[in-house]
């Protein structure tokens, strides 16, 4: 699985990987929602568009996940499928993303624990040491 949960006593350490930065960020989003609901049970029938920016890729990771997290309260949506495009600009990075999902159905989506926020602890978006792909890591407060 391209995302995995890493040991952290009170919170959830998330490590996501992908062939590209964009794919790693998609997997990070999947990992975050996997904490909250059963991913496989969410039908990707409605689209939500995200555009965000950051000075660094780590900033973009936080903005991307934070924007999706807010949706569960703003519109009641949870997501299971993601597409992302990340572009380098003179002053940082811009992410254009699409999240697909549906409104939370507590009977069908088997909720787990709500994510409260994306901390800066262990925050990292970097090329894999093997040179084969990218890794996005953060600790989610639950």
């Amino acid at each position: 699985m391209p995302f995995e949960f890493v040991e952290h006593t009170a919170d959830v350490g998330l490590r996501a990987s992908g062939a590209t930065v964009a794919q790693a960020l998609c997997e990070a989003a999947r990992g975050m929602f996997a904490t909250m609901i059963d991913l496989e049970s969410v039908d990707p029938v409605r689209r939500h568009v995200v555009r965000c920016r950051g000075d660094t890729l780590e900033d973009v990771l936080v903005e991307w996940l934070g924007s999706l997290l807010a949706q569960k309260d703003l519109t009641g949506m949870v997501f299971s499928a993601f597409e992302v495009d990340v572009r380098v600009k003179a002053d940082g990075f811009v992410l254009d993303g699409v999240a697909r999902g549906e409104r939370l159905d507590r009977a069908r989506h088997r909720p787990g624990t709500e994510v409260k926020g994306i901390s800066y602890l262990g925050l990292s978006v970097r090329e894999a040491e093997s040179g084969d792909g990218w890794i996005a890591e953060c600790v989610l407060d639950v």
């Binding site: 949960f5 890493v6 040991e7 952290h8 006593t9 009170a10 919170d11 959830v12 350490g13 909250m36 609901i37 900033d59 936080v62 934070g66 997290l69 807010a70 569960k72 309260d73 703003l74 009641g76 939370l104 507590r106 088997r110 909720p111 787990g112 624990t113 709500e114 409260k116 926020g117 994306i118 901390s119 800066y120 602890l121 262990g122 925050l123 600790v139 407060d141 639950v142």
Partner: protein
């Protein structure tokens, strides 16, 4: 850090001496088992080490000695959970990681004149009614109808607003920290996004380690204080553990970002990114404190609304006598406040962050309700689902050695990942049921993560706090029923 880090001062008191970039020493109040776990994490170079987090806090500008870790300490982010950092108002900083995302997460304790024998025949019905009535778990919405603009009332006036709307007893406010309303709250310091996320969530329990418990006063350990608090053996109590919900979460997220810029602007050397901060005496620092006060008020309002729902459920099942649930106290364990302390023999105002730690002022303080002033206000310590919760109080030693701070819970021992592997939700429910504890949960996965075995033994944590002299046990509360999100 290299080996031999800690010097033992007393049975449950250890010192991390000033070294490297530390501006002050750190004091860890904990038993040997906890100390071994802290040192183990350093030895194996764990990515998250509570001892290193305490050390990092001790490196921050304007910090007052000592940086403190309490007996329930475990790794957090930035500050350790169970961490206290006090700062000089002129030279110190305010740190988002010293409060966290769940601003003023805390506990409301209610007590009933009814005994366990009197409610036992109705306990199943009561639990069912609470499970139906109390909004909990992912996606739940509250019963207080507010507009996005109306939520400013909650941010400014906290529990006082909720009582004014008819959801509570006027005397509730006398027994809530800050009288349920922190001064200095400025809704303009809170983003529209935070308000939009929150306005439907006031009066919701949340999930994870949040809970609502029906309890019985199992043991009175300090008769004088228990009598002052109105706690008697065999009588029913209810504990509500929750915080500021999406509003607090968004304030935390927004200000982490702000403080990255502020740290750079003011040239503050940050040991670790989660400790981003601003000078207390700066525009950014003042704005964050005004936002935290809003978050704190939201949490007070949240618990007030939930207390009202509990009273309604009790009345529905038990009749009028059931709704006589008095607020014993309501106190938070993630906050930052300006407080008056005696530092080097002089009384002065300082800024105290408590992350997974409660205020624990000793006897004689004006901040305590008049009825509690002689003994000091209660500290409410959540246990785990299967064990006990505790009521404690602060001491003069705690005022001198830990900035008047107390433990807040058992503290985790296992990560959620390990707990989910080790414990199976349904088995946890049936084991607890076999011990006579009724549990209703919206998420079985959460039940596994919150299994009692995932936590330190609360008895040990309480014993360590008592042995260190910083907190004093008053009463032990045993769970009869638990509602979880």
């Amino acid at each position: 850090m290299t080996g031999g880090w800690l010097r033992r001062e007393n049975a449950s008191e250890w010192v991390l001496p000033r070294q490297g970039a530390m501006r002050v020493e750190a004091r860890i109040y904990a038993d040997e088992t906890t100390i071994e776990a802290l040192e183990h994490d350093v030895r194996i170079r764990s990515d998250w080490s509570a001892l290193e987090q305490v050390r990092n806090v001790a490196c921050l500008p304007g910090i007052l000695e000592p940086a403190v870790a309490l007996p329930d300490v475990h790794p957090g982010y930035g500050f350790p959970i169970g961490g206290v950092g006090a700062f000089d108002l002129d030279t110190g900083v305010v740190v988002v990681g010293g409060v966290g995302f769940d601003i003023n997460c805390g506990v409301r304790l209610l007590s009933s004149p009814l005994t366990v024998a009197q409610i036992e025949p109705s306990l199943d019905a009561l639990v069912d009614r609470l499970f139906e009535t109390v909004p909990a778990g992912l996606g739940s919405t509250g019963k207080l109808k507010l507009s996005v603009d109306g939520i400013d009332h909650v941010l400014r006036d906290g529990a006082a607003y909720v009582v004014e709307q008819g959801f509570g007893r006027p005397d509730d406010l006398d027994f809530i920290e800050e009288n349920g309303r922190m001064d200095g709250a400025d809704p303009a310091a809170v983003s529209p996004l935070a308000k939009q996320r929150q306005f439907k969530q006031v009066g919701t329990l949340g999930s994870g380690n949040h809970y609502l418990e029906i309890q019985v006063v199992d043991r009175v350990l300090d008769p004088e204080a228990a009598s002052a608090y109105g706690l008697e053996a065999d009588r029913i109590a209810v504990s509500i553990h929750t915080g500021s919900r999406a509003l607090g979460h968004q304030i935390g997220q927004d200000y982490l970002k702000e403080m990255v810029k502020a740290s750079a602007k003011y040239g503050i050397d940050i040991p670790e990114r989660e400790l981003v901060c601003a000078p207390i005496d700066s525009e950014e620092g003042r704005r964050y404190l005004a936002a935290v006060a809003c978050g704190a008020n939201c949490a007070f309002a949240n618990r007030q609304m939930l207390a009202h729902l509990v009273r309604s459920a009790f009345e529905r099942v038990l009749g009028a006598a059931g709704s006589d649930l008095r607020t014993v106290y309501d106190i938070g364990h993630n906050n930052v406040k300006i407080e008056r302390h005696t530092i080097d023999g002089r009384d002065r105002n300082i800024l105290v962050h408590r992350k997974g730690a409660t205020r624990a002022f000793g006897p004689g303080r004006d901040e305590s309700p008049p009825a509690y002033r002689r003994v000091g206000h209660p500290i409410l310590v959540g246990g785990t689902m299967g064990t006990a919760s505790y009521v404690l109080r602060g001491t003069e030693i705690g005022m001198a050695k830990a900035f008047g701070s107390g433990i807040h819970g058992a503290g985790r021992a296992l990560s959620r990942k390990k707990a989910a592997k080790k414990f199976w939700g349904e088995r946890v429910l049936s084991d607890l049921g076999a011990s006579g504890i009724r549990i209703r949960a919206h998420s079985l996965r959460s039940v596994a993560e919150e299994a009692p075995g995932a936590y330190k033994d609360v008895e040990r944590v309480v014993a360590a706090a008592a042995e260190a002299g910083i907190n004093r046990p008053v009463a032990r509360l045993r769970p009869l029923a638990v509602i979880k999100g």
